[in-house]
Symmetry: C2
Subunit: 331 residues, 2 copies
Amino acid sequence: MKKLLDDPADAVTDSLTGFGLAHAGLVQVHTEPVYVSRAGGPVPGKVGLVSGGGSGHEPLHAGFVGDGMLDAAVPGAVFTSPTPDQIVPAVLGADSGAGVVAIVKNYTGDVLNFETAVELVEAEGSQVATILVNDDVAVEDSLYTAGRRGVAGTVCVEKIAGAAAARGDDLGAVTEIAGRVVANVRSMGVALTACTVPHVGKPSFDLPDDEVEIGIGIHGEPGRHRIPFAGAREITRSLLDPVADDLHLAGGEDVLLFVNGMGGTPLSELYVVYGRARGLLEERGVTVSRSLVGNYVTSLEMQGASITLLRLDDELRELWDAPVRTAALHW
Amino acid sequence: MKKLLDDPADAVTDSLTGFGLAHAGLVQVHTEPVYVSRAGGPVPGKVGLVSGGGSGHEPLHAGFVGDGMLDAAVPGAVFTSPTPDQIVPAVLGADSGAGVVAIVKNYTGDVLNFETAVELVEAEGSQVATILVNDDVAVEDSLYTAGRRGVAGTVCVEKIAGAAAARGDDLGAVTEIAGRVVANVRSMGVALTACTVPHVGKPSFDLPDDEVEIGIGIHGEPGRHRIPFAGAREITRSLLDPVADDLHLAGGEDVLLFVNGMGGTPLSELYVVYGRARGLLEERGVTVSRSLVGNYVTSLEMQGASITLLRLDDELRELWDAPVRTAALHW
């Protein structure tokens, strides 16, 4: 295993230390316990937004801490849920008195640890609403979940709920908006190669040179099936059709199309997939008015991509467009 | 070879088509011949900025077309120089009458083809100044160059010259600023794995599982030497020391530290390298006042990274900070 790391046991903290130094104007990295908060602390009167989950999906979530998005992020060990003792100070620190929305990807460990943390935080007098993200249409239950997994759609939830909080919505309103995104966002991914967890030192699974895994999870969990590799057009269709069908997308509707890289795939290939997806959506009479293409919810160095569609309405579109200033999203 | 492409012969145009659709507000993609220009055409009275080179380094250069950076980018085939017939319309289209600066990475093919194109353009009455970028300290001459190669420092040249043009500097002043960046920027890279050119279909070189290539070029050209893999700390030192020494960096000086990913390395590892580089610069008494971390000048899916240092002065710092709105850099 060759990785730009030293002791694999320090992979997460070494990376966060560099991240904190590179973005000192945006974030503060805490180490005991580990979490990342917005530089300057919570904004008075604003609803706080906190997310978290296993590391290995960078820039998710720490890359989305900043103006117009998250107030704190809680990174666990690689592909491992953060613990309640990390989540509690992150949530308390994000609460300026207006309450906190916790955005949790639907994995059993994340859900349980956030539940425990929220109970402890509420005992301190903070109000917390939890939003579960479960956008992955690939499988109903999986290795680490009851119900669908939360994947790249999480970026849409964090961006749009973050904008709602930034414009001054109260806890109920931010929660409603976040829920509306969850209800209208779906994703599915493909793996061309496996990834290697640093402290394991070998690839998470075997994938033959001529096959891809459709419906892969962001931890390399099994997907729907393996198919012979047959080019971008066919792979794009095998991802886009289930996503669009699950959303019951109709002609005339407007979506955000998000092509996400798994970490090891060149940006140029993500744009090929984006172009193919645009063609398929055009065939359905669906308009794409907003786009995002890049590596935002990754699986270490896995090669592959996911397609996310978010059904837009005027308010979601306006909140997506609202200014954001974080390490990974900035406009 | 598994890549998210269809016919490898169409890799560049398929990717550019997707890029153009995803960023329709920023860029216009031309196909006969292939080049990318800023949406809305050149800004009246502003010096035009054009760059180009082989594809496979995305987001370089098309990802830097937009407000505050390039007016046009000319992508060749993968790892192949663009031809004069592509460069000519890109340069002519970028000229609002104030002249054009052509930013060319120092590779023999790029230099020759830009020279030919500039002669043709000048015959049409446009004034063009050419800036050669040769920031790679790894080797003096190499597979594709006389003199040093141009690598990730190109992003610094394009950003800062772009800001100078945007604030209204004339052709001479933009050229002077671009030259000042070239004189003060140095880079060196490492490969952990090779990459595969789509129309070749097999890795460009062999690299054993326990070795890395120090001083690699962005096309997989040989570097200085191979060393046993020994972790991020040692690799960072083997890149940073030659770069800082070549710049004759002295204690008390201020730099931009840019850790660039080669495409297949997780962002989390780039932050580890960034943190290690910060430590080494601190030992030298050098201040890091500006930072950039991410995949900006890539080699397809190669795993590895490069370190770039730019010696800053007040004007370069101000121009780096100036607003930019492109697909790949936005603040």
